[in-house]
Symmetry: D2
Subunit: 333 residues, 4 copies
């Protein structure tokens, strides 16, 4: 039987996931949608033969087996809590919560429920290059890890993008990735500010984050959100006996007018489209099979939010900030 999914939030990402569930992946269909913009929700629903329901009703409606949250970040925690209350699997786009406190409430609710229902949309864990990198690390190809050098570069960001967004919206992908890559927590954060780009308006762009991990690994992360030239995600791990880095994924190489050139992706969609497919494919398969989700869970979502908050503070104060994490509940060990 096909999995019936209710989607909350029919903005860009919501519609993209609906397209994926409807026309790309087998095994699921979207039976209900919800959005603050009723008319938008209505149009989206009509195109796929789904119903429109208010978010909380959608979650409890019997026609919905599992919930996909793509609404504005500030609403995520409330919907996730409602899904846990309804005992339904829920895939929540990042962030899980906008504050540590809200994340903690989710951990408590899910712990009380006694089973992991929540997955958070950190899709890099499903990217072929990050997976290959982690595989080399886990195999011991390069020995025990010591450092990681990362860069996240967006060509452009919209005008409403804020300094905090550089952390909470962009760097948070690197924060989750580093935690997952090394299987350990981030204990302290520094954020350094080079001369800002003249293309960045008022933003302190670029930034250099320094992440201290519990296992002693040090990760430096460049965040550039007006890099102009393309969308470029880089990562290299220094191990005790070698290094492993994200590869170059260039479909074509052109030699012309004195230069060998390969293309760089324009945006995250081009770079990570396949990762989103795999992410949702694995989630649908797992939920249909009645299994416990294997992707980033509520603890991962809580941790990302908490480290982000520390990084925002580090950005504002210019100081090294220690990350204050709650004890990890038994459910997530």
């Amino acid at each position: 039987m096909s999995l019936s999914i209710g989607v909350i939030g029919t903005g860009m990402i919501g519609r993209e996931h609906i397209r994926r569930l409807t026309t790309v992946l087998s095994g699921a269909r979207v039976t209900a949608v919800s959005d603050v913009d009723d008319e938008l929700a209505g149009r989206v629903a009509a195109a796929i033969g789904a119903r429109v329901l208010p978010g909380t009703k959608l979650i409890t409606d019997p026609s919905v087996d599992a919930v996909l949250i793509c609404s504005w970040g500030g609403t995520h925690a409330e919907y996730v809590l409602a899904a846990i209350a309804a005992g339904k699997p829920v895939f929540c786009e990042k962030p899980l919560a906008t504050t540590s406190a809200a994340g903690l409430r989710i951990l408590e609710a899910e712990s009380a429920y006694g089973r992991r229902l929540v997955q958070v949309g950190y899709m890099r864990r499903y990217d072929v290059a990050y997976r290959a990198l982690k595989r080399e690390l886990d195999r011991g190809t390069i020995g025990a890890p010591l450092m990681m050098h990362c860069a996240h570069r967006n060509a452009h960001v919209p005008s409403f993008y804020t300094p905090d967004d550089m952390i909470a919206d962009t760097a948070v992908h690197e924060i989750d990735m580093v935690r997952w890559m090394f299987g350990t927590e981030i204990e302290a954060v520094r954020v350094l500010r080079p001369r800002p780009s003249s293309h960045a308006g008022e933003l302190p762009d670029p930034l250099l984050l320094i992440l201290e991990l519990a296992n002693g690994v040090l990760a430096d992360v460049e965040i550039s959100v007006n890099a102009q030239y393309g969308y470029d995600i880089r990562g290299e791990i220094l191990g005790e006996s070698g290094t492993a880095a994200l590869g170059e994924l260039s479909p074509v190489a052109v030699r012309r007018t004195g230069r060998l050139t390969t293309p760089i992706p324009a945006d995250w969609r081009e770079r990570f489209l396949a990762a989103y497919d795999v992410e949702l494919r694995e989630w649908v398969d797992t939920v249909r099979a009645g299994g416990v989700v294997t992707g980033p869970d509520a603890w991962d979502g809580y941790a990302a939010t908490t480290v982000s908050a520390a990084a925002v503070l580090a950005l504002r104060t210019g100081k090294r900030v220690e990350v204050a994490m709650a004890d990890r509940p038994r459910l997530y060990r």
Copy 2:
């Protein structure tokens, strides 16, 4: 409505396509299967809730909207003709036919039917790297094409693999690709024989094919089927003002013991898995929408078979062999 597909042939490729239609792609389901091995067909059918039918019955059965042929090559033409007779869209794994004469009968039948129903499984046209290469060529990035250098390397082939298979089973992918890339026909073929590899048993392995195209482009194609080190597909086009080549798709780069290393795919599955997904995705979408198939058609299948036959003759005689093609029927212009 989901497209109901009947699959003829439940060997390795048939089962792979069934997996794809059932658990990967949306929009289709397999309602009937057929195989010379009844028991195998029965097991496959049971797992997905399909019926088992003899091939020709399957084609005409009302529960089957479209046919997918994955049986032994010698049976393809007969099934394709039956599908045309039934007026049903048919996806035929390569080769369309094992002889030019059989291919011609299909062209005539389809022409008589008056609408293109047939697509042939040359999946390289759906590969991200070949598509990027063709895009550069078509954009004029490198000017008018003059030559193409290709290599097709298999790590190993099974013991029953014959010299003719090097052409008709392996080089045929390059033959179709070159025709598609340049939008023109191959007029003559030479096959040169270097010293054979000691890993190749009795096979004349490697070979160098020289393909002369109607537009004057010359393509040289190395065929190695016991290359040992991996599955490696290469292509570079020389144009009047530059070159364009298939890129390196390496997810990870490791530095260790004095060397920078990137992985090479082990086999076609690893290299072209995504292309198979796209190929079938586009076919299902087109057929569901009631459109005319956009992939390699019966003419392409006929041409590949005819050029292959010339190349087999060139291999046996050591001579340059001109390709004797029928006139292109109006339906395929």
Copy 3:
């Protein structure tokens, strides 16, 4: 006329430079040598038909047109001062001086002399890759610079190597390179300590240096001196509209057993041999032509020593240390 050079210090680097002047480059000959080990000096001198002289005598001897200092670092400043007193061009291997104070005395002596006689052996400025990188930067290809990411990795270091050597002997090459690349001074330094490698004995290896430049550029520099896998020097500049990085200089690419591999240099000799040739070639040509040296001068030597001292302090204290530089004398503007 050939330039007559006196070489002080006939250890490994001294003998390497003597070989270069004698058997590789035209235009110079070594007429006198000096070493604390008289017997070694005698053997080296005999092989090339040079005289042995005590260091200070060598400098003033009429048979010596120009002086090349390759002795132990602690002796450099004294010999450089003697060469200035003698009004002779002097090439001093790094460091120019082991303390800022000694460097300052050289700046004063040379300023009093009124003409630049001193060149310091920072040979990266002569490397084909660094020069190509700087050319792109200076052309504005990537816009105004914002950050630079660097890594300096030695496969191994000898057992007598100290934590301070990681800065003063190794990182100092990066310090000079960054100053030269951006044409600006380093104002503050941080040194961060990841978990140390188990291959590093008592050394705090690797390190991450954070260099703050006067123009606002931030440079992060990984220093690994037991990286095991090879000698690897990396650098990428982030500019406002793009990035430029040191290229891969791999003479051969091998595909074998599932991997594409290119070689990594074993040590600095393999990586920078040609840069040493160019460095000395340009120095000899300039001195023969009676010109003012164009390579790193006494101010550069002083600056490198002063920034190194700050970095050593930063390493020991874990704090951000501001670099206290003297005013730049008129001679070096």
Copy 4:
């Protein structure tokens, strides 16, 4: 003692070698020069303090220890024979001779003299990339060789360049390289003609040479002399267990406007400058030491000329042409 060299031919290549011997390499000086253009010879001689002598006088003059021939190709054989007659080491730019017959006379003269005096200027044997490639082959890294794929691309050629020049002036470098790489002779040649480039005027450009080696290796060589985009030399050897290819030697990598780009050399000078230095360095060192030259010898020069002649015939006739080589004289075994 410095080696006194007489240079015959003060055109572009002659002056380039004079510059090299005078201002780059140690151990040699140019004491005499000769040219059909007396005035040019006079100016060149004056600049370096050499004498001007007619070619044959220069060869026998006691002030000349060794001879370097850079005159027009048609004069090479005569000068080489004179140098052998004088018992003097001679470095002859390619070709050794313009006909097989003239080459044969040199083999006989040198055999009669009883000692190898002649080296021919095929400088690719001194290139770092070709040497690294040959090292991998000789080490057995890729197993016994089966095929080699080569491309030689010039951006442009001058207007007086002829179809025969594509073979005798350009492809001859590939012919010598292949013989040296595999240590075996070329037995037959084919030359195939793709559609000519519109940038090539009347030239049949590009060409595809097929070289059959005595050991069964088959080499295909693209020759493009109006490739527009740069000077590009490529080579990949297919062995029984892997492949080895000339690497990418790119000093810098730029990311800008959606593309990663690395530079391509503009011409042979940029690509092979260092190889010319090494070539002459090794020749000067060997001659000074009184040794027998280790570079391409008269047999290699004869073979290159003889294979070229076969290839010119193959180009004109469109046929496979067998190479008719004399027996290898004892001196060259």
